[in-house]
Structure formats: structure tokens, C-alpha cells
């Protein structure tokens, strides 16, 4: 495995845009990625896959430049010795066995000792027992793991993994987490995309937030989380006496606004969701109101990201 100098980012994305006709998929994104696990987070359609495809050299940039270890990736075939890319598609050569598939990747990568490298890669993803079965017979999770083995087989210093946790169960996720940390600890840059915040929470040292083709925020998970927690939450409550409950909540400083809707639901906005969690049952009990339902109106990841982008 080779690495770059500490000053040089392993992946450098400079003012990159990508458009398909009138659709701008990635808009003026600049970022540097070094050793460690980097989570590329964003809702579906945010441009994560398009960006990763450009980093992998699969797609050309419409504008800007992408450098891998200081070299332009598109057209530099020798650079692929240093990159392992796992795309989000479940695609494999179904007619091959798992071992044949990993061996094919090893041979195409011109790995010196193919058998040893294949054995090591398959054992890393715990699929030695199934290695001689045809890929067509694999479950989705097994395919993902065997594809990961094929990505690792040439021991690249840069790993680009697009939604690698799709189709995996909780145990496999934990195993993947451990593996990603282990690989990063060896000095690799591991880029993992996901549209699920919790997925990257334990996984990534650095998070890059993408929304609507733009880089909305970057930093460690706690910084991103704090930013997300600052947003106002909107809660919809159904209770036996809406006006009584609204009056009881209105005075508390954790509540920004209270409104009784025409359908008798109470709408609350708050920036301190934790305080509200203890206030609400207490206020209901003190005012003799029965709570029927309490539900957030904007918990989708898209709404969270939209808030971050709008700031």
C-alpha cells in the first residue's frame, strides 16, 4: 500500500460540477479527503453517487477538477492500483463463483500472489464458506460483502464505497464498522456514502453533508449533530383538551410557539426537544389533560438537511 505525503490530500475535489442536460446533479463542490473514514451523507438524489462516480473516474466532470494522490483520475488507468471502488449497484458477474469473481478482480489488478490475496480478502468479509457458490445464489448482503472483498483484494490506499451497508443486517454493520476503522487505522482513506444519519454516526471520523448537489456542511459527527439539533422541531399533539394543554405549554421557555389548529391539534415548535420530552407529560398531568398522540411533522432526513442548507 502506498500513501501520499501528509500535506497532500489523498482525494481533492476542486470546484466540481456535473450536469445532465438542464439538471445540475453536483454544484461547485470542493473538498479534500485524507486518511480516516469519511462519511458522505445526504438524502437520496443529493448527488452523492454522482460525486463518487466522478471521484472514481467513471463519470467525467462538467466543470472543475478531481485529483487522486495529486493526479487527475479520469484517464489515468495506472491510478486504479491505488483505488478500490464499490458502486451502489448490486451488480456482479452472476455466472462466476464468489472466489472466481474476487480472483478476476485480483488478476485485472495484476496482484502478484492472486491466491493469497483472494483468500485474505474473502476471509476479511467472512465468506470463505460460500466462496465456491455462484454469485447468482447469494443473498443481497452476501453479494455486498463479496463485492467488498473484490474491492479490497489489491490492498488499495483509497477505498470509495457507495452505500456499502445496503442489504446488511445489524451484525454485518458492526463488522463493517470494525473493518472500516481497521482499514483507516492503517492509513487508508475510506469514503463511505449513506443516506442514513445513524449509519455514519459510529462509522465516520469526518462527515460531508450533501444536499441538492451542494456540499452543505462538513465536520465531525458531533459538530454536524449539534448543527442539526439547533433546528426548530415541529410537534403535532392530539389531546383531550387542546386549549388547556396549549396554555400549560406556552409559558415554558423550551417552547418557541404554540398554536391550536382548526382540527383541534396542538402544534408546537421547539429548539430544545430534550426539555420538551420531560415537559410535555408533566404539563399534561398537571393540567389534567390526556395525550392521544405526539408526532414530529418534519422528521425526514430531507427536512433536516434542508434546514442546514437554508442556514
Amino acid at each position: 500500500m502506498t500513501t501520499t505525503s501528509p500535506q497532500e490530500p489523498m482525494i481533492s475535489v476542486r470546484g466540481v460540477s456535473k450536469w445532465f442536460g438542464n439538471l445540475v446533479a453536483v454544484n461547485e463542490v470542493s473538498l479534500d479527503i485524507g486518511p480516516g473514514v469519511t462519511g458522505l451523507l445526504g438524502p437520496n438524489g443529493a448527488g452523492k453517487t454522482t460525486l463518487l462516480h466522478m471521484i472514481a473516474g467513471l463519470s467525467a466532470v462538467s466543470r472543475g477538477e478531481i485529483l487522486i494522490m495529486g493526479q487527475p483520475v479520469r484517464g489515468s488507468v495506472a491510478l486504479y492500483r491505488s483505488i478500490g471502488v464499490m458502486t451502489e449497484h448490486q451488480s456482479v458477474y452472476d455466472q462466476l463463483t464468489g472466489r472466481q469473481f474476487v480472483a478476476l478482480n485480483a488478476k485485472l489488478q495484476k496482484v502478484p500472489n492472486v491466491d493469497e490475496a483472494v483468500e485474505k480478502a474473502i476471509s476479511t468479509v467472512n465468506l470463505l464458506d460460500a466462496q465456491d457458490r455462484k454469485l447468482a445464489t447469494y443473498s443481497r448482503g452476501m453479494r455486498q460483502r463479496m463485492r467488498l472483498a473484490a474491492t479490497l483484494v489489491h490492498d488499495p490506499p483509497i477505498l470509495v464505497l457507495d452505500e456499502p451497508l445496503n442489504g446488511t443486517d445489524p451484525r454485518q454493520r458492526l463488522e463493517f464498522q470494525d473493518m472500516a476503522h481497521r482499514l483507516a487505522a492503517e492509513g487508508r482513506a475510506v469514503v463511505v456514502s449513506s443516506h442514513i444519519l445513524e449509519e455514519v454516526e459510529e462509522l465516520a471520523d469526518t462527515i460531508l453533508l450533501m444536499v441538492a448537489g451542494r456540499l452543505a456542511a462538513s465536520g465531525n459527527f458531533h459538530a454536524i449533530r449539534a448543527k442539526l439539533d439547533e433546528r426548530p422541531y415541529e410537534i403535532r399533539i392530539r389531546a383531550s383538551d387542546s386549549r388547556q394543554l396549549a396554555g400549560a405549554l406556552f409559558a415554558d421557555e423550551s417552547v418557541d410557539s404554540v398554536k391550536v389548529e382548526p382540527d383541534d391539534a396542538v402544534m408546537i415548535t421547539t429548539r430544545d426537544i430534550v426539555a420538551l420530552q420531560s415537559l410535555l407529560p408533566r404539563a399534561a398531568k398537571d393540567s389534567g389533560v390526556t395525550l392521544f398522540s405526539v408526532e414530529p411533522t418534519d422528521e425526514s432526513l430531507e427536512s433536516v438537511f434542508s434546514y442546514v442548507v437554508a442556514r
Partner: protein
């Protein structure tokens, strides 16, 4: 390059596809035998016409189309092309390996048809028989280059290939005199006539050497177009 070549052989030789193509390949021989069995007169002339019409105009292009279009087409459709392009191997190596694989497999399949059918009609030891096989080989190479490229540029490659075969190689080459200079069918028949010293008669033929040069230009041109496409496309 060998790995891509072996992978291509696996991709274009699915059991069902091979069975269908072998049935197609042996159809002219079967019909030739049928003609012979049903006719009392000397049927050689009829059989020759039949070979020209069926083997060269139908079996050859269709077999190559069915074999060549998935070479890249399946990779694009199954989204496996990235496995090849994200490796430290030149794009030209991928194109050459795929093209050689297609030529060998489609050549073998069309060859079965050509050898069996030609055997029935011509003297197996004659120059005419060899000229017939040479013409078929030229056709395989030319069509392979075109249809391999087609599989990379469109998801409906087989449909376009069939339309091309019937409209350009079939109808247009019979109506427009100039098309024979730009037709794989024309090159195939012209080489047969030239190599057989006129034993295999081809109306509207061109010079045999010109036909060989034309086929070589088609091979190189479409290999370069395939390479250009592979270098510049967004791989799904």
C-alpha cells in the same frame, strides 16, 4: 487482456444462446438437404443461390449481431462495465479482448453453418469451398466490429443491428449501386467471387482487394469508435 477475453467468452456463450445460434447455423444445411431430396434435377445452381441468400445475407449477420451486441451491451445493462474500466488496464486492451472474443465465438458459430452448408454444395477440396469460407471470415470480422460498437452506444443494439442488416445490407445494397462499396455483405460476396476466380458469381461485385481493404477499414474504424466511446462515456 486474457482475463477480459475469457470473461467475454463466458458472456457470449450462454448455453441457450449457443443452442439457438447452432440451430440457426444448421438451418441452411437442413434446407439444402431438403431441396436435394425433393428435386429430381441437378440442383447445384439452386443450392448456390440458397447459400448466397441465407448463409451470407441472414445467418452470418444475425449470428454475429446476437453474439457481438451483448459483449459490451450486457456490461452496460448489468452495470458491470465499471469492474473493467476501474482497473489498471488500457481501454484499448478491453476493446481488443472483447472484439477478439466476439470474432472467435461468432466465427465458430457461423463457421459451422458455412462448413456444413458449403460441404454439401462445393467440393470440399476445391478453391471454391475455401473462397466461400474466406468470404464468410471477412463478413464475421466486419460485422463483429460494427455490432460490438453498437452494443456500447445503445441499449437497443440488437434491434438496430437487425434493422441495419435488412435495410442497409439487404434492401439498400440491392437498390443503390454505390452501397456495395460500403456494405459488409458486398465485401463478403466480392471476396468470395475474387478468391474463387468467378466460380461463385456475384452480381454488382467490387474488386476483391478493394473489398479486403474495405473490410479492414471497417474493422479499424469501428474498433477506434468503440475505444473512443469507452474512454469518454459515463460508465453507469
Amino acid at each position: 487482456m486474457m482475463q477480459v477475453f475469457l470473461l467475454t467468452l463466458r458472456q457470449v456463450t450462454g448455453l441457450r444462446r449457443v443452442i439457438i445460434l447452432l440451430a440457426l447455423a444448421l438451418l441452411p444445411a437442413g434446407v439444402t438437404l431438403l431441396i436435394r431430396a425433393l428435386s429430381d434435377a441437378d440442383t447445384t445452381a439452386t443450392e448456390e443461390e440458397f447459400i448466397g441468400a441465407v448463409v451470407v445475407a441472414i445467418v452470418l449477420p444475425l449470428t454475429v449481431a446476437i453474439t457481438a451486441t451483448p459483449a459490451f451491451g450486457n456490461e452496460v445493462e448489468d452495470r458491470t462495465l465499471g469492474f473493467l474500466t476501474m482497473k489498471p488496464i488500457g481501454r484499448w486492451e478491453i476493446v481488443v479482448a472483447k472484439l477478439v472474443g466476439v470474432i472467435i465465438v461468432s466465427g465458430a458459430l457461423v463457421g459451422v453453418s458455412a462448413v456444413v452448408t458449403g460441404w454439401l454444395v462445393y467440393d470440399a477440396a476445391s478453391t471454391t469451398f475455401l473462397a466461400f469460407l474466406l468470404g464468410i471470415a471477412i463478413g464475421v470480422i466486419g460485422y463483429s466490429a460494427i455490432f460490438t460498437w453498437l452494443g456500447l452506444v445503445t441499449g437497443q443494439a440488437l434491434a438496430f443491428a437487425i434493422v441495419y442488416v435488412f435495410v442497409w445490407e439487404g434492401v439498400a445494397s440491392n437498390i443503390l449501386a454505390g452501397v456495395k462499396y460500403l456494405s459488409i455483405n458486398g465485401y463478403t460476396l466480392s471476396v468470395m467471387e475474387w478468391a474463387s476466380d468467378g466460380e461463385i458469381f456475384t452480381p454488382n461485385s467490387i474488386d476483391g482487394v478493394a473489398a479486403l481493404v474495405g473490410a479492414a477499414i471497417v474493422l479499424v474504424l469501428f474498433a477506434l469508435l468503440t475505444l473512443h466511446r469507452l474512454k469518454n462515456m459515463d460508465v453507469p
